[in-house]
Amino acid sequence: MAIGRRRLASIAFAGIVAFGAVQLRAQSPSFGVGRAPKPEELQAIDIDIAPDGRGLPPGGSTAAAGKDVYTRRCETCHGPTGKEGPQDVLAGGQGSLATSRPQKTIGSYWPYATTLWDYIRRAMPFDHPGTLTTGEIYGATAYLLFLNGIVGERDVVDETTLPRVAMPNRNGFVPDPRPDIGRPAPAKSEPAQRKPK
């Protein structure tokens, strides 16, 4: 045959790669287990909000209106201005990240405002998650952004404006560069003269 071994190997490799892609995308199910979800089933659990706002339900509120829900449902754990605790400090800390006492808050650290909305709906209040209305979630989100000086008290936070909120630490994250140390292996060991027989 005219095809050299190396060439053959590269054809085979390309074939594997192509086959892998096709297989994932188009192969019919191998086992036939599972069933299609009903639309309402999917709607009930498809709750993640993308940074571009996909998934946000229609609705909106302002910090002025949201102060009430914050006071009733959030303040016990997070303090009157979001800075007092006893649980996570939510406000303040801007400019502290590069200091010896960094404060990681919504205003100083969180890169996306949509994450705040997602997390409040998903998990807050801690002991009664899932009990806030859509309007209350927009209100609490707006109030927390206001406590951090990111939106004004009367700014409307809704499914269109929330993804456009510019978070101060939006560009503060970098990809994982590790291993950043530990390679190559340092000086060789002493002979293992004390190893057990």
Binding site: Q23, L42, K104, I106, G172, P175
Partner: protein, 407 residues
């Protein structure tokens, strides 16, 4: 009560002490159960001897609700490489839900040809695999970042790592069944717990060795480990191994959930934060003797511990007694498994003088576990997560052992 009751400190294997014990045994009458009495009957579900007291450590002195807290494996008092399911560390974010497996489902949707809902019976009908892997919380050993914490023993400092045999279905099988788009880069995993914890996982990991698991050490998963179903990502930080798994969504971009932005990110001295730091790097700890133990005088001791790496297999563990001036290779106990705890041993003749005892692990990528201070030089003291620095135990001349990171 002293916490000593929860932990055996009299583990010493000094030959002199063993000889003394043998002499005492010969002199006194034979100990043991009264031979004229019957023992206990068979029982439907076994439990350990009432003489064994090791338990997970729960820090009660915290303002954090215990549903959002952690409990730590008694590494000092476990053997081999498998952590008993009852002693596997915990870290929850919304408590442990009680889920009826008859009603639990896993939904896979998003960028797929065929969204599918799997019941537990569906999943158990698929070809299964069983694999031994460690799980470690990326916050494990986090107290040591500030130059050595006041923590008193190996359980409190490093107890957020455990190792089990896990049984389940490769995620790749499920993604093929759904016809996941091969060019989709991420998969969101979401739990059915109160906080519906969610993390975005690279598709490459999902197609490599990720599993959805329903079995742990031969039994169904324990509730605190995600019963009836969890995600297992061998070698990835614990938080990404979503428990009580209810949903996988195939996506082009990460969801940027709260856990992967505001929490499990590593703050550097310049104020930037590293994100999606999934891999747990090579690490080892001497578990015996360790802080809290007291050596009974000069003599022969077995030094033992565990080593692991999220990047592959443990290639070598070395031990030092002089704070790292010289290193001696320890013996690795088989099996040495990929992304699993590996047990090591080293026989030590203690000369009765002050010693700085430590281990370091090299993995099969050539990476060697660094000194804690070298990590701090690069990452500062506020990165919180992923501390795989060398742990030093300080042995005093009187035999007491303390946390030597505090030098």
């Amino acid at each position: 009560m002293s916490t000593d009751s929860s932990r055996s400190r009299r583990w010493f294997l000094g030959l002199g002490a063993a000889w003394s014990a043998a002499v005492v045994a010969c002199r006194s009458r034979v100990a043991g159960p009264d031979p004229s009495l019957l023992g206990a009957a068979v029982s439907p579900y076994g439990s350990r001897s009432r003489f064994e007291k090791a338990v997970r450590h729960v820090n009660q002195n915290t303002k954090v609700p215990l549903q959002e807290a952690s409990s730590r494996t008694p590494l000092h008092d476990t053997y081999g490489i498998i952590t008993p399911s009852s002693l596997h560390f915990e870290r929850h974010h919304g408590g442990v839900p009680e889920i009826d497996p008859a009603t639990h489902t896993l939904t896979i949707h998003g960028l797929v040809e065929r969204p599918l809902v799997f019941t537990m019976a569906d999943l158990k009908a698929l070809p299964s695999v069983s694999r031994i892997h460690f799980l470690e919380c990326s916050g494990n050993s986090g107290g040591e970042w500030r130059g050595g914490s006041g923590e008193t023993d190996v359980q409190r400092i490093h107890g957020l790592t455990s190792c089990s045999e896990w049984t389940g279905v490769p995620v790749s099988t499920l993604l093929r069944e759904c016809g996941a788009h091969a060019d989709a880069a991420w998969v969101l995993a979401e739990g059915a717990d109160a906080c519906k914890l969610d993390r975005s996982i690279p598709m490459a990991k999902m197609l490599d060795d990720a599993m959805v698991v329903y079995g742990q050490n031969g039994e169904p998963l324990r509730p605190e480990q995600g019963y009836p179903l969890r995600l297992l990502l061998p070698g990835f930080e614990g938080n990404a191994n979503v428990k009580w798994l209810r949903r996988l969504k195939v996506m082009n971009q990460p969801a940027m959930s709260r856990e992967e932005t505001s929490k499990y990110t590593d703050l550097m001295p310049d104020g930037t934060a590293r994100q999606f730091t999934f891999d747990l790097e090579a690490k080892s700890i001497i578990t015996r003797p360790s802080a809290g133990d007291t050596l009974r005088g000069a003599g022969q001791y077995q030094v033992t511990g565990i080593a692991w790496t999220g990047r592959g297999s443990v290639a070598r563990v070395e031990v030092t007694t002089d704070g790292g001036a010289t290193w001696i290779e320890a013996e690795l106990q088989t099996p040495v498994l990929r992304r699993a705890h590996t047990r090591f041993h080293w026989p030590w003749t203690w000369d009765g003088r002050e010693a700085l005892l430590a281990s370091r692990c090299t993995d099969d990528t050539g990476y060697t576990q660094p000194p804690l201070n070298d990590l701090i030089k690069i990452r500062g003291t506020n990165s919180q997560y992923h501390n795989n620095g060398i742990q030093t135990w300080k042995v005093a001349a009187n035999g007491t052992i303390t946390n030597g990171n505090r030098a």
